[in-house]
């Protein structure tokens, strides 16, 4: 194994189809028009020396090292900024160029420290490489004059010298090593889109400056790492590299945070991770990353990780460390005992959207074939289950229609109930890049999110009241239909015309107009009309949505309304358009694909279908139950009722993540056996009887499927610290329960998935190794996968329009609960925070805060930073207030990353009509000043402390 290094072509690829032929160093080469001479030379295999150029950003032409000579042209132009022309004859190495380059390098080095041996970038420094490449042997100028290198010159303080900025927990900024190539500044602008960096001053005074000469931590920097990656010297360096040294080998793997699914190189020294660097050939992220994937992997070896299996009879007892065998047989005896007493359907399990496809597949197989029922569900229940229902109903498939590259062809972006800048940051960066090129943006969200306003991006914002998505979507459809903006040719060809007519008649009713619905939605009808016209007529229109759509009583209805809108405007079936759910967890798409829902076998096929069941029964050699099983909220209800008594939870913290915490507590307390399989003693483990330690994504092989349906490899880079990969743990439990599973490697599990699932028929580890990744459907018809779906027709045949009547949620405001609470995420933290809270990311967000509008705060006597009591019909908690006009009057907002805040004590049992996806996004609340934690919070904390006691295993004799 060796270090994987992608080729740096110096300047970005040209998309032109016209080819240009020229001669470089005697070699004839054809490249797309618009390619730089630098890139063309690299493609011909000749590397022109360079410092300020890198192919992640546009050419800049400042370092003067990449000069070339062109026959018939005067001077020595910079090859990075000079485009190819037909017939050019270019020389990249001549006596004149050698002399010039050596002179340039000599000047650079004359103001650069010569501490190469002890420098963090030693072995990975482009300045060092270039000094070598041009044959620099001597620096004639000395170090006596003005410089940025030494703190003191001639015994006096050197005004040009600046100390290291070590404020970021993850990287350092050492100004003395800066060559002012501005790669970091351009990466921040062009790749990330944050514009946190600039070059301040001129000439010799030029410095990289975060914000207005602030520290990195104090500036707008979002710590995505693009600047660190772009830096050719040790000016910006990962602290882990400074501490450990340069990596010696690397392995390409997939990030375990959000549904964007960024490909990373895990750069290693032995079994120690030195750093995670985004992989340029990753098709989801194209070489970019965010603070979580790039830096927040320290949780994988956090001291609180549990590495030994543990059991206990009662949840009041302390945990007892035991061997794997004892844990498995204890768990198996309990589960089988429950089935004996309460019936076969009294146990079930939850698959993890954080685990691999292979692991998820095994858990659902264990439940369906081993437990003998279909009581399997996954966290998608509480996030994107309405997507599954809504898109299957209208299009015939439960997934997004595009790849992320599609955004490069989009003209109008419509974002509903999603905040990619916080929750899907790498996609947000790709989107913002397109917006800066001129694409238009519409944001439908109760809150003025980071997407609404960011550098060079200004959205048309429709700030709706929480819970009125369907009314807004139907009003958009009203405008499109009544103003004659429907793409009739598309609808006639691709969709069921009579269903369309019915739908068109419905949306045209005056009650659905923007003017009539404004009283419910709070959206200015003029702005809504403008948004509808822009989406329908602005060119390629793409819809991206998130949990602000699904987590409502009418979540599925809104998904259907979104699909209706895309079909009516013909925005389906080609690059640049489509309907794209932004998936929360890394493998939530995959866990749904793998048959994690109680009514569906892998590949979204209903369990009642005899033909499908036959196939699985033949291969698994068992009889399957044809009736759907319980969904997560139904499991809780059944537990309280006493008919559901045992649960195996893999990689999911239902106690913290599911709504109405006291109901979840009641359900978990009622169960006789709760098995938690996780990295940490999470909140759910407080009510568990068996704890099976999990393995991190660095410790196992498998695949994740991201929001684009892209299946990517997860590769093992170290031995599991707990001794077993998660798939092996599930096999151990299954065997103890008398259900034999035989796999020696996850690739064998994938082969079984491919054999049973038509959309995965062409997927194998060999193909993934060869192509890097594939998007399902991947089968005989599409051997290399399917980037864009529904190209010539919908999967279900004709696209189906469905009438979407607005039904107000029963969660209403009133005199006692006059405000609406909605929830969301923040960039640095991830979901329940189990991972990110155990990293230095807490520096950015150490607690959840309640955002409240100044008017609402003033009425209640709440000042910024005060403790407030947040009370709903379900429960109450306390947290600190942040006064902001990002939220409208009447709306309050918080994140849910910290267990001590317990935002879900507040949320209610209301759920989506079709899927029981909880209504997290609308809760009627009251806010009042408070002195500190509520009684619930204190009692919860005491229980949690009590429950986490561990008695270590006796030393072996």
């Amino acid at each position: 194994m060796s270090l994987i290094e992608e080729i740096d072509f110096g300047t970005p690829a040209s998309k032109s189809e016209a080819m240009v032929t020229l001669t470089i160093d005697g070699k004839e080469i054809s490249v797309p028009e618009g390619t730089s001479i630098m890139r063309a030379a690299m493609e011909a295999g000749h590397q022109i020396p360079k410092l300020c150029a890198t192919d992640m950003v546009d050419a800049f032409g400042s370092c003067r090292l990449c000069l070339v000579e062109i026959e018939g042209r005067a001077g020595t132009p910079a090859s990075c900024t000079t485009p190819v022309m037909p017939g050019l004859v270019v020389h990249t190495q001549t006596e004149r160029l050698k002399k010039l380059r050596k002179g340039v390098m000599e000047l650079y080095i004359s103001d650069h420290p010569l501490d190469c041996l002890t420098c963090g970038a030693n072995g990975d420094c482009e300045l060092q490489d270039m000094a070598g490449a041009v044959g620099l042997r001597d620096v004639r100028y000395g170090y006596e004059g003005e410089n940025h290198v030494f703190a003191k010159t001639h015994g006096c303080d050197n005004d040009h010298w600046m100390p290291k900025d070590e404020s970021s927990p993850y990287f350092t900024y050492d100004p003395s090593k800066c060559i002012v190539c501005s790669r970091c500044v351009r990466a921040c602008e062009e790749v990330q889109g944050t514009f946190a960096l600039t070059i301040s001053g001129r000439g010799f005074e030029s410095r990289v400056s975060p914000g207005m000469n602030e520290s990195f931590l104090g500036s707008e920097c979002v710590s995505c790492g693009a600047c660190v990656q772009a830096c050719p010297t040790a000016t910006l360096t990962e602290k882990s590299v400074i501490e450990i040294g340069q990596p010696e080998h690397s392995v390409v793997t997939t990030c375990a945070y959000c549904g964007v699914g960024c490909a990373f190189k895990a750069e290693m020294r032995g079994e120690e991770v030195v750093r995670m660097v985004p992989y340029k050939d990753g098709k989801a992220n194209r070489g970019h990353s965010c603070v979580k994937g790039r830096f927040a992997w320290g949780y994988t070896n956090h001291g609180e990780r549990i590495l030994k299996p543990m059991i206990r009879e009662r949840i009041e007892d302390p945990w007892r460390e035991v061997s794997w065998d004892e844990a498995f047989s204890f768990a198996a005896a309990k589960m089988r005992g429950i089935q004996k007493t309460y019936g076969r359907d009294a146990i079930g399990g939850i698959t993890s959207s954080r685990c691999t496809n292979e692991e998820t597949y095994l858990v659902q197989k264990l439940i369906r074939a081993g437990f003998g029922n279909n009581n399997v569900d996954t966290c998608a229940r509480v996030c994107h289950s309405p997507t599954g229902y809504g898109l299957a109903t209208t299009f015939g498939t439960s997934a997004g229609t595009q790849d992320f590259d599609s955004v490069e062809d989009t003209d109008v972006v419509l974002i509903i109930g999603a905040n990619p800048a916080s929750a899907h940051p790498v996609f947000a960066s790709r989107l913002k890049k397109r917006l800066r090129q001129g694409a238009k943006l519409i944001v439908i969200d109760p809150r003025r999110t980071e997407m609404v306003e960011s550098p060079h991006v200004k959205a048309l914002h429709l700030p709706l009241m929480p819970g009125t998505n369907v009314a807004v979507m139907t009003a958009l459809a009203h405008v499109i239909v009544t103003e004659g903006l429907v793409n009739e040719a598309f609808v006639r060809e691709r969709c069921d015309w009579s269903e369309f007519e019915e739908w068109a008649a419905f949306v045209s009713q005056p009650k659905n107009s923007p003017e009539s619905t404004a009283i419910l939605t709070g959206v200015d009808p003029k702005v809504l009309r403008e948004a509808a016209r822009t989406y329908a007529t602005g060119g390629n229109g793409a819809i991206y949505y998130g949990l602000g759509v699904t987590e409502h009583s009418q979540g599925s209805t809104t998904v259907i309304a979104i699909a209706n809108l895309a079909m009516a405007t013909g925005n389906i079936g080609r690059p640049g358009v489509g309907v794209n759910p932004l998936r929360g967890q890394n493998n939530v798409q995959g866990s749904c694909d793998m048959g994690s829902f109680p009514h569906e076998l892998p590949g979204y096929r209903h369990i009642s279908g005899d033909a499908v069941r036959d196939q699985f029964e033949a291969l698994w050699n068992v009889k399957l139950n044809p009736e759907p099983g319980l969904r997560i909220p139904n499991m809780f209800d059944a537990a309280v009722e006493g008919t559901f008594m045992g649960l195996y939870v893999q990689g999911e913290d239902i106690l913290q993540s599911d709504p109405n915490t006291s109901h979840v507590v009641a359900a978990l307390s009622a169960m006789e056996c709760v098995i938690v399989h996780d990295l940490f003693l999470n909140e759910t483990a407080n009510y568990a009887h068996v704890f099976l330690p999990g393995s991190s994504f660095l410790e196992k092989d498998g695949t994740f499927t991201n929001a684009e349906r892209r299946i990517q490899r997860v590769r093992k880079v170290m031995t599991p610290k707990n001794g077993m990969a998660d798939w092996e743990v599930t096999i151990g439990l299954a065997r103890a329960m008398g259900f034999e599973m035989n796999y020696s490697h996850p690739s064998e599990i994938m082969d079984e998935i491919a054999a049973l699932t038509p959309t995965f028929a062409g997927v194998s580890y060999a193909k993934l190794d060869e192509l890097g990744s594939v998007q399902w459907p991947c089968n005989e018809k599409a051997p290399e996968g399917t980037p864009v779906m529904h190209i010539d027709g919908f999967v279900r045949g004709k696209g189906k329009f469905v009438v979407t009547e607005y039904v107000a949620t029963d969660e209403r405001t009133g005199p006692r609960y006059p405000l609406l609470l909605t929830t969301g995420r923040i960039l640095s933290q991830y979901n329940v925070g189990a991972q990110t809270r155990r990293t230095d990311n807490v520096i950015w967000h150490s607690e959840d805060r309640l955002e409240i509008h100044p008017h609402d705060a003033e009425q209640r006597g709440v000042r910024d930073g005060d403790w407030v009591r947040l009370k709903s019909r379900a429960g109450e908690t306390t947290l600190r207030a942040e006064i902001t006009d990002r939220v409208a009057p009447g709306v309050v907002y918080t994140t849910f990353h910290h267990p001590d805040t317990q935002a879900n004590v507040i949320t209610t049992d209301y759920s989506d009509w079709a899927t029981n996806c909880p209504e997290y996004k609308v809760t009627a609340v009251q806010v009042s000043p408070s002195n500190g934690p509520s009684d619930w919070q204190k009692a919860y904390d005491a229980q949690a402390r009590q429950s986490r006691r561990i008695v270590p295993a006796e030393a072996a004799e």
């Binding site: 359907d345 009583s553 009514h599 759907p628 059944a638 009438v803 009547e805 039904v807 009509w913 029981n916």
Partner: protein, 76 residues
């Protein structure tokens, strides 16, 4: 399971289909419950139906009646 919660859920499904008119709504509701409810939930709502079905909207009641008949026919 608690009939109140199941009645609420069934009526919620009913509300979605209501605007499609009676003839589409009744089979739509029945199909949805058939596809997504676990047997103990179906048994509980059928028991509630037998006990008079208080609180069920008319379309929902009709859908459950037909689903119950179909289920018992298949079982027999």
């Amino acid at each position: 399971m608690s009939p109140d919660r199941l009645i609420y859920m069934a009526n919620q499904i009913g509300k979605f289909f209501q605007s499609q008119g009676h003839d589409k709504a009744v089979p739509g509701i029945a199909e949805h419950i058939k596809k997504f409810w676990d047997p103990r939930m179906k048994r509980a709502i059928f028991a509630h139906l037998d006990a008079g079905g208080a609180g069920l909207e008319p379309n929902v009641r009709e859908a459950l009646t037909s689903l119950k008949q179909a289920t018992s026919l298949r079982a027999s």
